[in-house]
């Protein structure tokens, strides 16, 4: 005889999790709840415009907390910075993948294109991806809508340059009497096809490139400290910003934007070592995917066919990735040996993946959505995810 189901079945919780905003580690029992009663507005850390966070002492039968005014609460917040995080983080392990690159390298475009591709073609790409908490990914949705779901696809659009403070990418919190800026991550629930691996949360950050410049990391704005916790890094390299690379790829010199991306890479490696307490002469053990952006402009020179995507049999192909890596590395060695030297000095596991977020060069007033055809846009993220322990590419040595 079956009993009357009074209580929800117990959920398995992770033993410890890290806040995706400030990376504070804490047990699930220490998580605060976000009050729902409209009268409980104003939190001393999260801000006067945020609902009060509280450690609950009363729960209902489904495990939801009851706030001091009696409202049922399900949203959770970090006990330190009091920023909201998805409830799934209590139940599923999360993996941080940092997205790094110089200003103007194309991080935001790549993230928007990759997210759009993964949502639409998850089965073919071997990964199912959904928003862990749609509200928290709103900024990414806006970028996707602008590029891929425009009402008038012939009207040129452009993504705004990512702000270094304020906007939707960062939140100001008051910790111990001082203001601190924390980044707002994008969090996805991801499951790969064909392998016996439980669902995992993928936490991505879209920092402004300025934050990766030397000297831009400080205690008041610790917005790149995710590098100390990340299990994988996607470094967006814009080869067209490197004069040597442009020459090697046969691109016109013109009045192109140039930047020393090898310095950004060295700075990133330095921060990874500092935040993990590693020796300065030690290679970083985190797997690094170099997303070589704007490949539609230089792929032919490298001998890479962007029409042949790196997926087969409902998943990513290690053989195709390896071939593309070797072609990209050869071109990088010819065009930007200083970048390759910095890469080899700092990282043990590197995979170069060509990609093009838009598949078409922009015009003066932006890019027309009708012309956008991303190529390999999701590949760097699929590769980074599958390179994590338990993934298809675990153990890959390009």
């Amino acid at each position: 005889m079956h009993g009357i189901p009074i209580f929800e079945p117990a959920r398995d919780l992770v033993r410890r999790l890290h806040c995706p905003h400030c990376w504070q580690g804490f047990a699930p029992s220490d998580a605060l709840f976000v009050s729902e009663d409209p009268r409980l507005l104003g939190d001393p850390v999260a801000g006067a415009d945020e609902p009060l966070r509280f450690l609950p002492s009363r729960f209902d039968l489904t495990g939801a907390a009851i706030d001091p005014e009696g409202a049922r609460c399900t949203r959770l917040a970090c006990p330190r910075c009091r920023q909201e995080f998805p409830r799934a983080m209590l139940e599923v392990p999360a993996s941080i993948v940092s997205v790094v690159g110089a200003p103007g390298a194309g991080k935001s475009h790549l993230l928007a294109s990759a997210a759009w591709s993964l949502r639409r073609e998850g089965v073919r790409l071997g990964i199912e991806m959904t928003d862990a908490e749609p509200r928290l990914n709103a900024r990414l949705h806006e970028a996707e809508n602008l590029l891929f779901a425009s009402a008038d696809p012939q009207r040129a659009v452009k993504l705004a340059k990512t702000e270094t403070a304020g906007g939707g990418g960062y939140r100001a919190v008051r910790l111990d009497g001082r203001d601190e800026t924390v980044p707002v991550p994008f969090i996805f629930a991801v499951r790969s096809h064909g392998v016996q691996r439980a669902e995992r949360l993928l936490v991505l950050y879209d920092n402004a490139g300025e934050h990766f410049m030397p000297g831009a990391d400080d205690a008041m704005r610790p917005v790149t400290r995710h590098l100390g916790r990340s299990e994988g890094v996607v470094f967006v390299l814009d080869p067209t910003q490197d004069p040597g690379f442009r020459r090697a790829a046969g691109l016109p010199e013109g009045n192109a934007v140039t930047s020393r991306q090898d310095l950004v890479l060295a700075e990133m490696a330095s921060r990874i070592r500092h935040h993990r307490g590693r020796r300065t002469d030690e290679a970083c053990d985190v797997p690094l995917v170099i997303a070589m952006a704007k490949a539609d402009l230089w792929a032919k020179a490298a001998g890479v066919s962007l029409h042949e995507e790196p997926y087969e049999g409902g998943g990513i192909s290690a053989a195709r990735l390896r071939a593309a890596h070797q072609a990209c590395m050869a071109l990088a060695q010819r065009g930007s040996p200083e970048f390759v030297a910095a890469l080899r000095a700092a990282f043990g596991r590197v995979l170069m993946v060509p990609c093009s977020s838009l598949g078409a060069a922009g015009e003066v007033d932006g890019v027309r959505p009708a012309q956008i055809q991303p190529r390999w846009a999701a590949a760097p993220f699929v590769a980074a995810f599958e390179w994590l322990p338990g993934g298809r590419l675990e153990g890959l040595q390009p």
Partner: protein, 356 residues
Amino acid sequence: MRAEVIHTSVRRGLDGGTGFAVAARTGGMPRVLVESVSALSGLTEAWSGASDWDRTLRATRAVSMPAGVQWVASVIRPSGMDHTGRGNRLAHHRVLDADEVERCDPAQLLCDHERWMASFSGEPRELDVPAPLPGAQATSGAANAWKSAFGDAGVAAEMLERAFQSGVGAWIVLPAGVDRLQLLREMVALLPPANRWKRGWSTRPLRPSADPVPVICVVDEREPEVQKAPVNAAWMLRPRSGEAPRASEALLRRAREGAEPAAPKPVEPLRAATVSWAPPARLEAAAPGHASRGGSPDVMSVADASQETNPIRVELEVPLRRGSSIFWRVMKTVLWLGVAVMLCAVALWLFRGQGT
């Protein structure tokens, strides 16, 4: 100190870096001041279809520095495309010295279009120390633009008084199509000059916060931040049309007739008690009108700013009333009588039986 900072997206910043960086600044500025001012440069997205004028943020804000509070006036506006072909913005900040704060009108400063840079060209460079700002111009004082928009200039008085009482700042949400800058100018002009810098002012929404100097924002109802905010947010004030505005008589008269700001009231002797701030557990704690338990601050009064509402440390003002003074005297007498009775009782107990 008087100084200027231009923060925008450039190939190479004056102090290094690329992308959003300091393009120009006054020579000799302390690094910590440059960084604090630069951190104010963000421009949030506006609603779809907003013009560059609508997207422009004009604000005066107080920045806490080791040496004290420093006032910064800023105009941050869209500025075409940067060298990478992406949408750019230009932030022009003016750091004010104490004399300028005393002399200037914040709204007039923000409205002075000639003073603010619209685009930056050329190499990154150091700027000369800017010339002192001129003093505030006299105004009629009447809130005519408010009258045109809402039918009664007294609405400006009500909004101002309510916004001034909030300890975390306020958003005055205005209907689409009104000239926010002009409305802001008229509202600030209602205040006595000494009170105009007791709050920051802005034409785009800035997050309410427990900063030492709250900011009053005059914002468009189409702003995404307004749409996302809780409907009953205490810091959001919406002018009501068709109802008689409620504000102090002097402020209403000033808004409607343009009368001069009222003379300061004679200040009663005050005794200050300090109450530590606690996290606002209920709406009332952060709501306008409830930030100070000692009563609403009078926007027309030019009493010392240190006696005003402070969201972190609330100075509770307790007037020395005649009634309470008599009460304390009676209490003291009762106490002394009690002590005398106790002493008598002890003496009687010690000397008991000696008389027999």
